[in-house]
């Protein structure tokens, strides 16, 4: 097996034996987010060429605002996936959070009470997911799929299948108002993002979650309180799904029974995965998820603005998803090019 007989050229080798770390530039360049941002820029250039409206402030805001839902939901989902779990029920929890909050709102409960109450209901659902997985030993997907079905039924029963509205203006301002020109829903997303970034990157909890997802047996053996971590993860995933539902209700001014469901779960999971979180656990970042969520709503938006017939939407979306990740791999391989 003669691989090559070319003499070694040392200049492009920064490394000593077993030592060497990558430069900061390399570190930034090899991140998946960087690729996704490049893909976003490419889409943006294309969309701008087809419609001047794309770069208008109101359009960019609208992209951001529609990504808020995916992102908030994806934050909790990402944390759970990094911790080695999976929550299929998120789409139904989204609806449950929205509906239970809106039910209270139309009954006259002021929103500062109704929102926490709605979230609390969903946290309880998260705890049930945890209990079913942990104590009844049901694999996470089946457990949360079961919860998904049950909640879908409950969501419908509770509302009798009808959307819940009208919602008080005060509540709608939670998403529709703005502070210093930035709309509230975007602010909420930023706050959630910062919180999750902090949790994941700067706390013991974050490290423990990565350890749990990276090697559950090692986490157990090294004395992590894995049940507590699991509980926290399922509850957090449910809470962000519910919060996304609440924000969505405030955005559209109604508690929609038909919002959420499989497609919402799918979108959040897509944002998580495209953002570089590994289903194998342990790996991923909030920045990646943020870029993934914005990319998804950017694609949706650009498809409308560029006037591509909607029949072609799904082809374009599929192609972009796959090529974004594929390009990412090729870029990295180039950076670490084999001699």
């Amino acid at each position: 097996m003669t691989v090559t007989a070319k003499p070694p050229s040392t200049q492009d080798r920064p490394a000593e034996h077993g030592g060497a770390r990558d430069s900061l530039l390399t570190k930034v360049l090899v991140r998946q987010e960087t690729t996704l941002v490049l893909v976003m820029i490419a889409i943006g250039v294309f969309a701008t060429a087809r419609s001047a409206l794309f770069l208008s402030e109101s359009n960019l805001t609208s992209i951001l605002r529609s990504s808020v839902i995916y992102f908030v939901m994806a934050c909790g989902a990402a944390l759970l996936v990094i911790g080695g779990g999976l929550d299929f029920s998120a789409g139904a929890v989204f609806t449950l959070g929205a509906l239970s909050t809106c039910k209270l709102l139309v009954e006259g409960v002021p929103w500062p009470l109704a929102v926490p109450a709605g979230l609390a209901v969903c946290c309880a659902v998260g705890a049930v997911n945890f209990a079913v997985v942990t104590y009844l030993h049901v694999p996470p997907i089946i457990a949360t799929l079961g919860t998904f079905y049950m909640l879908t039924g409950i969501d419908n029963l509770v509302t009798d299948g009808a959307d819940v509205l009208p919602l008080p203006a005060g509540f709608q301002r939670v998403a529709q108002g703005s502070v210093l020109g930035v709309s509230n829903d975007v602010l909420i997303a930023v706050a959630v993002g910062v919180l999750f970034w902090f949790l994941l990157e700067r706390t013991r909890f974050g490290v423990n979650v990565r350890a749990l997802g990276g090697n559950r047996q090692a986490a157990v053996g090294n004395g992590l309180r894995v049940f507590r971590l699991d509980l926290a993860l399922y509850v957090i995933a449910a809470a962000t799904a519910a919060l996304a539902g609440v924000v969505y209700s405030a955005q559209v001014g109604a508690g929609q029974v038909t919002a959420g469901g499989t497609s919402t779960t799918l979108n959040a999971v897509t944002a998580v995965l495209i953002g570089g979180v590994s289903l194998m656990g342990g790996m991923g970042s909030v920045q990646g998820v943020a870029v993934g969520a914005v990319l998804l709503s950017l694609i949706d938006n650009a498809l409308v603005l560029t006037g591509i017939p909607p029949q072609y939407n799904s082809i374009v979306i599929g192609a972009i998803l796959v090529s974004a990740v594929a390009v990412d791999h090729l870029r990295r391989a180039r950076i670490y090019r084999k001699r």
């Binding site: 419609s51 559209v252 029974v257 038909t258 497609s263 409308v304 603005l305 979306i317």
Partner: protein, 298 residues
């Protein structure tokens, strides 16, 4: 009016911009509505862009996002099918931003957020369906096939149930849901017919049920005893009428509906009062189908 955008290449400066948020852009009936709208918009000097959710199923969330995007992009008018009560609020948000709103098959009226609605509401669709069955001689037992007890499915179920209550020769034996999953039509209709062998007519709001229902009726040997009320000529509705598994078909003049909707929205934009449009939906027997098809009904 604002500068043209959103995929308009033809529309010049000052042309009215209309966004049609199509619920099912790949579905033939809805695609036809979109095409007719685009023709009419061109006639009226407006610029109509079409968008819609990805995938097969009706996705109210994605539609609402697109209504909001069109509002943010300051379209002159937004047209959509309000697949649920929740559309009222986003349409109101659009109106508040100065956008003219038009709906098809919506509830219409003050609270709907719609400046101009066309097409019957679900109560009158239900009456049309049930009325046609009741007009046939004898007693009729309905088996209902709906997507779900929410959104569109629920509106339809409520309409049908309300209409049945007003007749004396039609009853409902049972209902099943398919979750808008075509692959569930056959087993669900099979189970429905097993549980309620007395069912004489299968009624559904989904064209996607047709092949499954037809197959179930035939395989159970109920040809001539149980009939499907076909939800349009697509999906094998015409063939079912031909072979006798279906005895009635719901038909609509969707193209005219679409054109009138565009006219109405343009009129509102120009400050005119739009014309009231007649209801163009009918349930017909085998002999009338071809005539209506020739007139552009589906």
């Amino acid at each position: 009016a604002d500068r043209a955008g959103g995929g308009s290449s033809a529309g010049g400066q000052g042309a009215m911009t209309i966004q049609f948020v199509n619920p099912l852009p790949s579905y033939p009936t809805w695609r036809q509505i979109g095409e007719c709208m685009a023709d009419e918009a061109k006639q009226r000097g407006a610029d109509l862009a079409q968008s819609g959710p990805t995938g097969q199923a009706l996705d109210a969330t994605a539609m609402i996002q697109q209504v909001r995007q069109a509002t943010a992009n300051k379209k002159d008018a937004i047209i959509t099918f309000p697949a649920g009560e929740g559309f009222a609020e986003v349409l109101k948000q659009a109106k508040a931003a100065g956008v003219v709103t038009g709906t098809i098959y919506g509830p219409g009226g003050e609270g709907s957020g719609s400046d101009y609605n066309i097409g019957p509401d679900w109560a009158s669709i239900g009456e049309t369906l049930v009325g046609a069955v009741a007009a046939q001689p004898g007693k009729h037992v309905l088996g209902l096939v709906a997507a779900a007890d929410t959104g569109l499915g629920k509106s339809w179920l409520d309409g049908v149930k309300g209409a049945v209550a007003k007749t004396d020769n039609v009853t409902i034996a049972g209902e099943v849901y398919t979750g808008d999953d075509a692959a569930k039509a056959l087993p669900q209709v099979n189970a429905l017919l097993t549980a309620h062998p007395d069912v004489t007519t299968i009624v559904t709001h989904m064209g996607t049920t047709t092949p499954g229902a037809v197959s179930a009726i035939k395989s159970r040997g109920l040809l001539g005893r149980t009939f499907l009320l076909a939800g349009g000529h697509d999906n094998g509705g015409s063939e079912a009428m031909e072979e006798g598994t279906a005895n009635l078909m719901l038909m609509q003049d969707v193209c005219t509906l679409g054109k009138q909707l565009v006219d109405g929205v343009v009129d509102v934009h120009q400050g005119k009062k739009p014309a009231e449009a007649p209801v163009r939906i009918q349930v017909v027997g085998k002999d009338q189908v071809q005539g209506l098809l020739d007139k552009g009904w589906v």
